[in-house]
Structure formats: C-alpha cells, structure tokens
Symmetry: D2
C-alpha cells in the first residue's frame, strides 16, 4: 500500500515523482454535470507554482494541467477525470549527491527503510510536487462545493511567529501579498523575516487557517468518520504538517466548560468555539481549522547526518529551496479540505430514508 | 454511513447507545494465534470505567466484557472477535427532558439535522459509552503490538492549564493518581483545580500525550495514508478532541529549520522534534503525539439554548457528570493509537517484494 | 483480514462460530427512519432455520433475533444496528473427532493452512450458521428496498436436475413446499429425489433464481463496480455457490448477437436476455440471476481423506446434515442480493450534481 | 461513484474514454523491487489490440504503453505506477449518429439514466478500450505473481458452441491461432463459424477458461471476501460477461455429494471438482474458472430501438466491429484474475501472528 488514494465516493488517486515524466491525479466518483475546464484547474495550480515570488523557488515550472478524460462538452460525465501535469524543468544532476545520504527532516531514510531503496531525484514521491495531484483534484471538488453553495478558503495565519491580526482581516488582501496573509501589515513583517532567513541560510514555519462557509448542517458522521477527524487526516497527510486544530483547538484545553460551550440561540449559535462541528457533524456555522507547518527542512546551513553506509558526515543542501513552505501550502490545504467536504456530501446523502426515496423517485423505465 | 467502522485490514466495527441493551465491537482481521482472554480486555475497560474516583461519575457500571466469538482455546482464530458489554445502570428518566432541547457543546442538534430525530437517552450513540467498543478493540490490538515488541502508553499531560513537569516524569506514577498524570505533584494540583470546578458547577479540559516505543522503521505510507495522518484521524474521532499534534507540533511552526531538523547519527537521530515520523513513515524513534481535550460540555451551571421548537430557554443540566473528561480518555487515546498501529503493521507487510515472497514460501500443498 | 465486512455505505459486519456463544451482525450506514422490529428480522431467519422439514437438519435451534442497538421508538436511527442470535443447541461432542482430519468438500484443510489452526467445532466460522448474520442484515436491507418500492424474491429453480417449470410458475407456491420451488409438481419430484439421497447416504445440489423488480434505472456503476459484478461477489460469497449467471447467462455464450440483443421499445425492452443490467447499470427491467449450489459436502457414506498427520484414512461423517443445501440457501441469496442493492442505492445517489444539490437544499442552519 | 477503482492493497484506478485523449491506469500498492519495463506491459497489451486478425476490428491502434511514474532503475519503487496509452485512431464522425438513440445490448440507455447524459463517441467510458487500463494493471500484477511462483493463463474454451477438446489441450497452441484456443482443430472450426457470422452480419459469444497454478494454500478469506467471490466480481466486471463458475460450476448443481467431493490424499486431492478453492480459501491445487461472454452487441443487421425522444426506429450499426469479443477478452480475464490474486497475496499476509512478527523482525533503527 502506498496510500495514494483518498476518499470513499469522491475519490482521488494521485501519482508522480519530482523527476519522472509528470505528476497527476484521477478523480473517480465526481457527479456528472459539473462545468469543468483546464482553466478552472490551472487557476488553482498557479497558486502553488514555484517562482511566484522571491520566497518560492525560482524554478520555472510551467505546470500546465491537461484533462485527459471524464469531461465532455464542458461538463463532468460522472466517469474518471484524469489530469496530468508534465515535468519539464528537472535537473537530475542537482540531486545525484543526495542518493548516498539521509537529509535531516526529509523522508530519505524512512523510504529506504520501507521500500529497500528510493527514487532519490528531487525527493521522488515525497517531493512537494506530489501536491500537484491534490490541488488538481481539489479544483474538481471545488466545483461540487460551489454547486451546493459552499464557500471555502484558506490563508496564512502566522509565519515564524508573526501573526495576522484578526482585527485587520481582509479577504481581498490574501491574494495581494507574497505570503497569502489576510493582513498586509503582518505580511510585510513576515516578508522581512523571510529575507532574514534567506540571509541566515535558514527557514521558517507557520500556521494556515481555513474557513468553510455555508456548509449544510448534518454533514459528517458520528464515531470514527467525524467530519473533523476526516479533515484532520486530510490536512495531516500534507507533508510538513505537524499540528491540526478545530475551532479553539488547543486553547479549548485550557478553557472552562462555561466558556467553551457555544450557546444555541434563534438562528444558530451565539459563539463558535467549536469551529462549526459538534459530535463530528457540521452544525451549519463556519467550519474553522488551523494547521501547523514546520520550517522547510532543506536549508543551506551545514548539518550533520549519516550516509547509507552509516558514516557520520556534514552536508550543506544545495539547490533552490523556499525559506518557507507555508504560502504555497495554502492552496494545498484548501484542496484537501475541499476533497474532504465533497466526499462527505456524497457519502452522507443517504442519512435519512426520505432523502433516498426522493432521489430515486421518477427514476423509472420510461423511454 | 454512520462511520462506525475503523481500519483497513485490522478493522473494528462498534455499536451501541448509552441506554440501549449494551455496547460492543467486532474486530475483523486480527491475525490468528494471539493469546486473548476476557481478563485482558477487562483491564483496559476498567481504566475508562466511571466511579473510579470523585472526578468521574459515580454511576456504578460494571462494564463486564464478554467475548462472543473469534477466540478458541485461548487464542485468536483469525476470524471476527465480537465483544459485548451489557448496559446495566441506565436511568432513562434522567434524560427525558433533554429530548426537547439542544444541550450546548453536545451533538443533540447535529444528530437531529443529520438523521431527522435522535435517541436522546443519555446522548444515545454520541454518549461517552460509545468508547467502550474502541477500548475493547484496542485491547485486542495491543496483543498484536506486544507480539511485535511495540510498547504504547498515554497519560494526562495537562489539566486546566496545570502541566505535568517532564523533569518529574514517572511512568509508574501514571496509574497511581486519579488523573493519570506521570507527575504526582501536578496531579495533586490538578485534583484541587477539579474540586474547584465541581464547586463552581463548571468543568475543565486538558491535554493527553501518547508515546509509542520500539516501532519498526518503515511503518506508514507516503501521501494520504501517512502514519501521522492516520493517528490524527483516529484520535480526532474521539469526542471532545479539538487538537492534535505530533512531536513538537504547533511549536514547530515557530522554530527555525536549523532548530527543528533532527540530525541523523550512528544509531538513530540526535533529537526527536519530528516525533518519530518522517514523510508519514516511522523512523524507528519514539512516536510522540498530543491531543487537546475540551472541557466537559455537561455542566450544572445555568446555560442558554433553544428547544426543538426554536424557542430560547435557560437550562441547567442535571445528573452525574465528570468535571473533566481527560483522565478517562487516556485509555481511549491508547486504544485508538493501538488500532492505528496494528492496522499499519498489517497493511504495510507487503512494501517489499522480498517480504511477500518469504511470507508465502513453504505455503505449498503438503498434507 | 477475515473478510467479514460487506458493503461500502450500507455495510454489515458479521461474527460468530457454530459452537461459540452466538452469531450476529452489525449494520452500519442504514438510513434513519426505517420501521424495524425483531419480528421483521425473525420472519427472515425462520426461513433459514433448521428443523423446518425432513430435508433440513432436525436440530431444534430457536435462532431468536435480538436487536441490541440502532433502533429507537420502532425506527432505525442511522447508527449501527447490532443483532445477535444466541447459540443454544450445540453438542460439541459430536464434532470432537473432526478436529483430527480434513472433511472432503469442507474448509477444514484450508483454514488450517491459512490460520495455522481452527475452531473445529461444527465447522467453526465456516459453518452454515455464519449465514444468520447475513440474513439478519438482509432483513434490514429489505426495509430500505421496500421504502423505494423494490420487490426482491428468490426460489429454488432446480434440485438434482429437477427443474421448476417456468410455465407453472406460482409465486405463492414458493413458501408452500419444503424446497421453496415455485412449481408444486417439481417440488414433489424434488422431494422424492431427496428421500432417495437420504436412503443412499448421499446429497444433491441445485440452482436458485432471484428476481428483483421495480429497480430504478441507473443503479450500479460502470467498470469495476458493475451491479452484476457486485451481485456476483455477494452471491459467490455464500458457501457452496459454484456458479453465477445473469439473464441468459451461460446460454448467451451460445446465442447469436441478433438473438441475444434486447431491442428497446416504447416503455422499455421487448425482451430481457440481459437480465435487467446493461454495462453494469440497471435498465429498469427485472434483474434476474441464478446461483449454482453444490451438493451438501457432509455425507454419511464412507469417504477417503487424510488426517492432520498426513495419514490416509476412511471416514463416515456422523451427525445431522441436510441432504440438500438449496432450500435453506434461498433466503441467504435474497439477503445478499438485498444488501447489494441497498448499498448500490446509497453509493449511487450522487451520480448527478442536480440530485446532490437537491438533497442538501434546505439543510441550512435554521433553528 | 463511477467504480473505476479495484483492489484493497494492490489497487488500480483506471480512466479514459474511447475518443478522449487516451486511457490509462494507476497502480497503487505494488511492492517495491519488482522488475518492470514498458516492454513487459506492451506484451500484454498487444494481445488485446485490435487488428490482429480478421476477427478483430481493423482499426490500426498502436496502443503504446508509457510508464509515467513508480519505476526507478528498472524496478517498482512501491509508489504509484501510472501507465498511459494515447488514443490515436479515433474517428468521432463514425459515432455522431448514435448520440441520438440507444443501441441494443449497449450501455447507452443506462448511462443516460444514471448520469443524465453521456460521452457517446465510441461508447465513451463503456467502450472496450476501457480494458486497456485493466490489462496494463494486470501486467504489473503478473510481476508480483511471478515473484511468488504463481503461473496464470487463460484461453478460449468455446466459441458459438464449438468447444476446445480437453483431450487435445496444448498450451503452446493458445497463442498460435486467431481465437486463442488450446486446440487447433476447434480453433479452425471456430474460425469458420466466425466467417459465417460476418457474412450474416451477426456475432457470436463464447466461454473463456482460466487456470492458476502453484497458488499457495491459504489465500483468500472466509465469509464475504472468499477468493472465488473476489474472482467472480473481478471477472464479472468485464463488459459482456454474463456467467462465471469455478471448478465444476453449474455442473456441480446436478452432481451428488459423493461425486462432487474431492477426497484428500497424501500430497493433495484425488480430484479437483472444487476448482482449487474450499470455503473461499485456496487449497493449493489449480484454481480453475470459466466466464461466459455474450455475443458482440454491435451488429450490422437491422435492429429496432428507440431514440432519446422515445420514438421507435430501425437502425443498422456501422463501423468496424468484431464478430466475437472472446479472443480479445482472454487477456482481460487474465489481467483481472492476476489483479485479484495479487491483492489476495498482500491482504492475506497477516493471517498468522508469527508471519507478522517475522516480517518486522530486524526492521529496527540501525543506521
């Protein structure tokens, strides 16, 4: 099992290595009738593309999405949607050296332990390019969310300890700064911090927040398939994620029950400490979660490690690496959240017998 | 889908409501040949049983595990292991009132939205009694972990902001205090805080930490089925969990790459900021994660809410409720972690063709 | 993996051995709001119960179904429905001998090869009692089928070469004879043949036919999850099934295209050689399939085999055994078909985006 | 759900329509270390390619397999193997007409019912080209089977009632005649029959038999995931399959128990009526099954049907169509069987705790 399949009904299967022929995704189980074009997908891919700012790698990867199947006359047909992005800008030579040793903070060692060997070029399957399949699949999922009126977006909440101020929140700002923060002032300070990281041959981490609005109440399942548990798995499956919390999250562990409970009132809830999910099921208010992202493990500073022969050595990782993963991961978080909600929409349709009956009424044989 | 099935190969299916005839679990896919008795399971169940201390409800539930199938001559047979615990101490009358309104912080409202109605007695399926099936299943999983030499345990790291001091860590202490802390001093202070919560008709939350030792390197899968993503989903599926982090977790988001990277050395890693998992795959060092638990939502203090007719009302929740969920949830966290690792052991056996070949060598027809 | 879980959304998990404490099933994913009582389930179980006629074993098993969870105020709640039947009439002594050797036509040898040992009492998990969980689960599924207007029934088409005459088909007759044939004359001749089998210490096989009416067009999926492929797996998972065919089945392999094609006409199709499924998807006409059942492997006549030490021996199987499995398997076939269709109804609800949108319209937060 | 994902651990996801950009498959969960090249896959694809004889369509499809990921230095890496075959020879114009009506025996009508519309060009997703993904995936699975010593092959047993004589069985003959029969005489007679079908603008069906040798005893699971049930689903998921039987199959329904039981003897079984599977688990003898294939539904003869407006019309299907599907389906049957056995090998590794322990012994942290 290599675990590259995600979802129960709305299901994606991704493939591809950093330095192979390309990367891609097949979306199976997407309902028929959703408008979809390569442009729809490209808009999403462009947000994770490198070379967008000085804080992302300067590789010129065109990352053009090509739809290979599952769309006919501009709409999804209900059959598998295969999407491919060709790899065009790899320089395998850059990576030949890392074949022989284990980079700290990377999966080189664990791949060798699991599989006996690894495609070491650019990280192979554990490269950040793996997320292209997720984002392309997420773009398809967004089409379904849009069809039922759900609004989903994420942004950088914090970089290297610099937080976006909720009081200055501006949704428009998110796409207007290089770090995707909803607060231009914080974004400017984060930019300075990243400049410093580059000078110091070091890297920073941060926190991404995601908001999902207009979710129908009743999505998600009690017990193991709680909507928050599914979101946790989805988001934690993104490389570099080390923490996940919903609503007040870890802060709730320090609150009293009288503070943390959200009282119901006419029209909803007075507060939203819970982050839109109660008992694993959406309550109709905004779903809010955060993911903690570790600092980029590839740094130019000298590090100690061992090689495949077990000898201790010193290394300095060359090549083009982002001083921070967070901004490019924002759209990946959105994609994983969209995929999770899309699947919950489809798996949860039959929770009441009346809805099942209605869905099949009139599906008789009348030619 | 009610989502009460967990795992791919080592799979459990739980059932039961607070005030039905009982609760239980069926474990499917457990390897044959593992010693298992009702006593093995009971030891685990006793740790989540109410009435153990003044901080847990005083209901006298005997919670006796009965193995109904899948064990023959003291060993698992490889076929489904059904375990049942009868409900014996319900007083449905206590709960009749809550049929008509939505308790803050509970799943009453969301169940109604999802299913159209609910079994309101004692929370029905969203009751804490639901975790009995998890714990019984986890006890079976622990038998498999033990067979491959894995050591797994959890404890209360923090209650209401009072933290166990890592410098005073004592594994023996965990089972010697009412709040399952590995630090007797912190435990005493936490006990005082809980007394105060009771007096104030309020409740507290906290943090549980889990350590998994001697995990073979190479467990877990890249991409979606990362071992940490699976643990995140498993732990987040426990009611009241609002946050999850591995290794340094959220703190990693504020560290520099040079601090957060774990350098490899002869025999392993110099540090363990990663918490034992790199790229979703175990690296052989200790797996460490934490879960944030919200304060008990059932409090006696007056709260505002609405009833099923949408009228705003004031309520005060009666009955016997814990001022804190954390201590009883410790064994539930252990159970979910054990189930996750057990499943990873079985799904990951075929990662190298040599291991597959060896497993089937000699499985010929020789009668 | 012991493979005792069936279905994707409407999912059952069965457990239990012939001589353990009982057998049972947990149904997860059944929609809320379906009327369900123990009587509903008992009616189905009574049709597979032994001791009904001289052609079924004379063991007096009461086989009383007990619903343990998931039903509240007479309706399914959407959460797991656990059903148990206690074992009451086992005499383990009868079976002690078979621990040491491999019965021809049974799974004794293969269980030993797979698991290293087996619960040999009464066949353990491979006993016919395993089907009780299927039938109880199938009874729940029938409630969902009924809710959408589907009519599903099966009968004995053939025993030991004696066929029910389609020209004499009577649905009422099915439950009026000991072999569940829709043709009383054929039933009488089959009864004679079975008498002869008993005298000769031998057994007979046969064919079961199942008809599913008023299935909405559009159920099932192209490619791997074709509705007929799902039915094939479901029915072939019943012990003793050796063949499965849909519509004209094997006869279609000898027909010409011009004969086998069903021409469409106003209101449907002129013929139904296809058996109601085209390209894996229901076409709205009757779904018709047949299963071939092998003769009961337990016969009193002397047979040769080997014991666990590999020595060749002669055996004569004692105890109470049916001369034919077919009649008691009819309701098991119905159950597996009902479970398959129920799951197809739930997994297929989201095939069009319009249906998804409609299902969630009005699921807003309005308290 | 469009159901284009197959398998639990060794899992494939296929995509592609007849007249889209291509067709393909992603294999996830294949163990690392299996030699694999495009040539390995091409050999399999070439056997289902059209234009091989006058009984297959004369379209010149090159059907060249391209491996896009998951293979490094000539061996599988354990990560997803994506394989694509570009569509090169479509003439959409041929099919424009069929957009408006429902071809008898095809899935046109049922696709419209399920999805609301369809990609009508060349059958879209229900085209025979869909099987390319299966065959490419099956070629990968064969690498795993080979690694554990399993030999799997299929052939045409019967076409239009003309049977290959078991007494004249020659494995070499299979690839030496246009209909893949193991009996050259029968093949010659089948060829004559197909000539006649062409002259009569009609088509024929047939039966494919598959043999799997050297399967380890103990593969497959009791209850729902029986190895024969899995094979049934796999093979029945191939378009045009209408029947499936294992061992004696339907003939077993007419045999007596004393005839049908296979007596065990030193070294195995005296006979193999069961077809190598007992209680759903392989017994180490040859696994043998047969699939009934319906006649090609596309025939040039005039047929009656209705159009999308419900009007009754007469049609004659133009274009290039095989008078028989059977020969090209032989390799598809092999592929589906190989995929099923590969998955059973991986899901079944953990049936005994000793095997689990051994697989992880030495997987410690020793750098």
């Amino acid at each position: 099992m290599s675990g590259s399949v995600f979802g129960t009904i709305f299901q994606i299967s991704t493939w591809g290595e950093s330095h192979g022929k390309g990367v891609g995704v097949t979306v199976d189980g997407c309902p028929a009738g959703i408008p979809l074009s390569e442009t729809d997908i490209q808009q999403w891919l462009d947000r994770r593309k490198p070379g967008q700012s000085k804080f992302t790698t300067q590789r010129k990867e065109s990352d053009q999405a090509e739809i290979l199947s599952g769309v006919f006359e501009g709409k999804t047909t209900g059959t598998p949607i295969a999407i491919m992005v060709k790899n065009t800008n790899q320089r395998s030579g850059d990576y030949a050296e890392i074949a022989s040793y284990y980079r700290p903070g990377h999966a080189d060692y664990t791949f060798d332990q699991k599989y006996g060997f690894r495609d070491y070029r650019g990280g192979g399957r554990s490269s950040g390019r793996e997320t292209i399949g997720r984002v392309a699949g997420g773009a398809v999922a967004m089409g379904l969310l849009k069809a039922v009126g759900i609004d989903l977006f994420a942004y950088t909440k914090e970089i290297g300890g610099i937080r976006a101020d909720p009081g200055k929140f501006s949704r428009e700002a998110i796409l207007e700064n290089a770090v995707y923060m909803p607060d231009m002032d914080a974004a400017a300070r984060a930019a300075e911090l990243l400049e410093q990281c580059i000078r110091e041959q070091d890297s920073a981490g941060g926190i991404i927040e995601c908001v999902i609005r207009h979710v129908p109440a009743g999505l998600g399942d009690p017990v193991f398939d709680k909507l928050d548990a599914k979101l946790a798995a989805a988001v934690f499956s993104i490389g570099a994620v080390k923490g996940f919390e919903v609503g007040d999250g870890f802060a709730a562990a320090r609150a009293r029950g009288s503070e943390n409970n959200d009282c119901f009132c006419k029209g909803g809830k007075k507060t939203n400490h819970a982050g839109g999910i109660l008992g694993g099921i959406s309550d109709g208010s905004d779903i809010i979660f955060r993911a903690a992202i570790k600092p980029t493990p590839s740094i130019s500073a000298v590090q100690e490690t061992v090689n495949r022969d077990g000898e201790e050595i010193s290394i300095s990782i060359k090549g083009r690496h982002d001083p921070v993963i967070v901004p490019r991961a924002v759209v990946v978080v959105e994609a994983m959240a969209a995929l999770t909600v899309a699947d919950a929409l489809l798996t949860g349709m039959g929770s009441r017998v009346d809805t099942v009956r209605e869905a099949y009424t009139g599906r008789s044989v009348s030619i």
